[in-house]
């Protein structure tokens, strides 16, 4: 299967770090997860940062950088309305034909869909669902993860992953 490169925004990283399941990024075959430096800088809690550093050293995901005039120009354009990490992710995905993993909605989702086209965005619930389908998580484990994230104000629009399998 051809690998799909996915540039991961800070919100997804923070969710998975909070669950201590960044290893899922390394276990989902067919995907290559990357983060730009701008995203890494947005992971500020000591615990999440330590878990991210661990995941990087284990190769669950890897770092990449913004390179080239066109990418940097696009990054600067996005900064008008987006944060640093979001801008870096969308500039990279747009220029390199990558996918994006982000939990942002509203303006970011609209801009990401406009620049990347349909079917090129993943989010935390999507990754957990994919992990269930690949038998990396049970429904019960995913529901427990959902409950933990909801206590941190990250809410999903369904009761249990069983409803959407």
């Amino acid at each position: 299967m051809a690998e799909r490169t996915v540039v991961v925004d800070a919100n997804v990283l923070i969710n998975l770090a909070h669950l201590d399941r960044l290893d899922l990024l390394g276990s989902l075959e067919g995907f290559d997860f990357v983060i730009p430096q701008e995203v890494r800088q947005e992971v500020t809690s000591a615990e999440a940062r330590a878990r991210l550093d661990g995941a990087l050293s284990l190769g669950h995901l890897r770092e990449t950088g913004l390179e080239g005039l066109e990418t940097l120009t696009l990054f600067a354009d996005f900064l008008q309305i987006m944060g640093q990490g979001e801008s870096a992710c969308l500039a990279l995905a747009t220029m390199r034909g990558w996918y994006i993993a982000s939990d942002e909605k509203r303006a970011f989702l609209r801009e990401a869909q406009r620049h990347l086209g349909p079917g090129r965005i993943l989010n935390t619930p999507g990754l957990l669902l994919l992990a269930i389908r690949r038998r990396l998580l049970t429904v019960e484990q995913a529901d427990e993860a959902k409950a933990i994230l909801e206590r941190c104000r990250f809410r999903m629009a369904f009761g249990s992953f069983r409803e959407i399998l």
Binding site: M82, R106, P125
Partner: protein
């Protein structure tokens, strides 16, 4: 100059640079007046006139609330992303947790329940 700065509620130094930008002061005049301000003449005259020193803390508070209000409105209208809102809020000392509480209070969190997004071929 002291009265002018007091009238507009700005520091005497800021007023001097503003007047220079408006070409109402030459560079030489600006240098002389800045030196006098540095030497404490402006403060002494202000004291003799019985003028209170500008309340910078109040000014900062006003700026902070105005910027935060505008940023929240821009986010509500989907002109900026959550990440940009977070950066703007952080710039005026509002933490991510405080911002989340503000958004929840404004009802801007309620419509943000996530549905799974998957790449093409995995839906």
């Amino acid at each position: 100059m002291v009265l002018l700065a007091h009238h507009f509620g700005v520091s005497r130094t800021a007023a001097l640079y503003r007047l220079r930008n408006l070409h109402l002061l030459s560079q030489a005049e600006l240098a002389v007046l800045l030196a006098e301000e540095e030497a404490g003449h402006g403060k002494r005259i202000s004291g003799l006139l019985g003028l209170p020193e500008p309340d910078h803390a109040a000014g900062r508070g006003e700026f902070r609330s105005r910027l935060l209000g505008l940023a929240l409105e821009a986010y509500r209208r989907e002109k900026i992303t959550r990440g940009k809102l977070r950066e703007l809020a952080a710039g005026v000392g509002v933490s991510g947790d405080d911002l989340a509480a503000i958004l929840e209070g404004d009802g801007l969190q309620d419509d943000e329940r996530s549905v799974p997004l998957l790449p093409e071929g995995f839906e």
